[in-house]
Symmetry: C2
Subunit: 311 residues, 2 copies
Amino acid sequence: MSEPLFEKVALVGIGLIGSSLARVIRRNNLAGHIAISTRSPDTLKRAEELGLGDSYATDAAHAARDADLVIVSVPVGASEAVAKQIAPALKEGAILTDVGSTKTSVITQMQPHVPEGVHFIPGHPLAGTEKSGPDAGFAELFENRWCIFTPLPDTDPDALEKLSEFWRRCGANIDTMDAAHHDMTLAIVSHLPHIIAYNIVGTADDLQTVTKSEVIKYSASGFRDFTRLAASDPTMWRDVCLHNKDAILEMLARFSEDLASLQRAIRWGDGEKLFDLFTRTRAVRRSIIEAGQEVDAPNFGRQAVEHPAKS
Amino acid sequence: MSEPLFEKVALVGIGLIGSSLARVIRRNNLAGHIAISTRSPDTLKRAEELGLGDSYATDAAHAARDADLVIVSVPVGASEAVAKQIAPALKEGAILTDVGSTKTSVITQMQPHVPEGVHFIPGHPLAGTEKSGPDAGFAELFENRWCIFTPLPDTDPDALEKLSEFWRRCGANIDTMDAAHHDMTLAIVSHLPHIIAYNIVGTADDLQTVTKSEVIKYSASGFRDFTRLAASDPTMWRDVCLHNKDAILEMLARFSEDLASLQRAIRWGDGEKLFDLFTRTRAVRRSIIEAGQEVDAPNFGRQAVEHPAKS
């Protein structure tokens, strides 16, 4: 086991991402001390029951004090409040990072409050599940997933390298890009899929010609796939929608334009156009599997979970 | 092992569904003889290499001759051609069924060609994966999935019961409803999800501000889920779109209406409306898991496939 990378790491927020970090930090000995903080006393108590850290506080400033690395893992709409709260406690030379799904907004919210001498490096690990809370985390969450940094012009290269090394030891691959490009990219690969999933599940839930119990009984014919993303944390996703509005509206416009065109092909019976699209999209999944970002097993490998003896 | 239910079963079409049927019929001893037919000599050869049946023919009529049960598993657009071809070979008292995803169209296509004395019972097992062809099938595909029959007014109850027993022994649960209700129900639980998935993958594939390699690298943040349905068989899905047009257009209209409303909430920063929808949809997945139609494991249980030792 190598030396801990950091003396003290503070985790502000202990949901799916924060608690996965706590677990992998412990497993891989990445910190001498893990300080955990969350506003909710119940969640904090649960984190303590799970033994996720070495100290626990509802006050984020308390956890952040003397920390060499502070990782903020809260819904992006809470970023400014957290920054204000912890700013006075941050020590000279500390690295402050976050895991938020939108970067321009997080920078706007946090940057003005970061004290001189603290290295603020916005980050976003592209990993998650539809589950929330400290029980949902697991140490393998970041393995072979990408962690994107959107460094600021004056970011210290040594601090960036140290934070990169931390994430690599959590299992992640590192990329850097500017915040605007991150927000546009995530709008298509993550935000639009979630919004579309929420929407289709809402549409189905509202139907009266087809009953709710029919939607549920027959969901294995396709619908159930969308319910996974649509079961994601509502607070987190409300905040993403509110804090990456422009990029999301741009992607929604493109999606709707394409859907209108597809709908027209269905109405007019343009089988060739349908066949061409349906063939092109098939290749995309193949590329994702080859890139190691998806399992090749049919049905996402559900079979292996349902019939472990047979698979 | 109980007695075979049928002396001879003919499988017309040996793709994912047909070949899964072949495997479960063999495993559960449901037929004395399995006759396999497909138009493509290469596919037929592959079925023979896999040992899926007892006899093989490119001519569907040859397979259907003397069969007690004929199961047509072809893209729905090919239903009429198959019905015409096999009609003269069908024996008195035989049960003829199909597995097509649209029922009104299949009935319109096949019913006029069914000879007197043959029991035509349209059916649809709600089961599948994104894979196609005879290699993709597996005997467990229908376990705890629903098989819907849309019997005609003059359907013989004994024949329906016998076919139901067959599907139950394949592992399925049975429901019956009229064809129009089936088509409306499937439009929302299956056809719309596939169309939306194809569309979003197409939209992402067309982007130039975000590169294709970025879409693929970062797909684990949500997008990859949609690529599964969008990797489904293009011919099958072209035919579904062309043969359930009215119900699909109705569901697309509802979906687009809801999406416009959601988009407006994003534009105007209506966080409460977003939070309410995102909370309501979360409950739907819970119901599907409780109904045994989905695994409870996070990320569809991909973790179990990627890290079998740890899960």
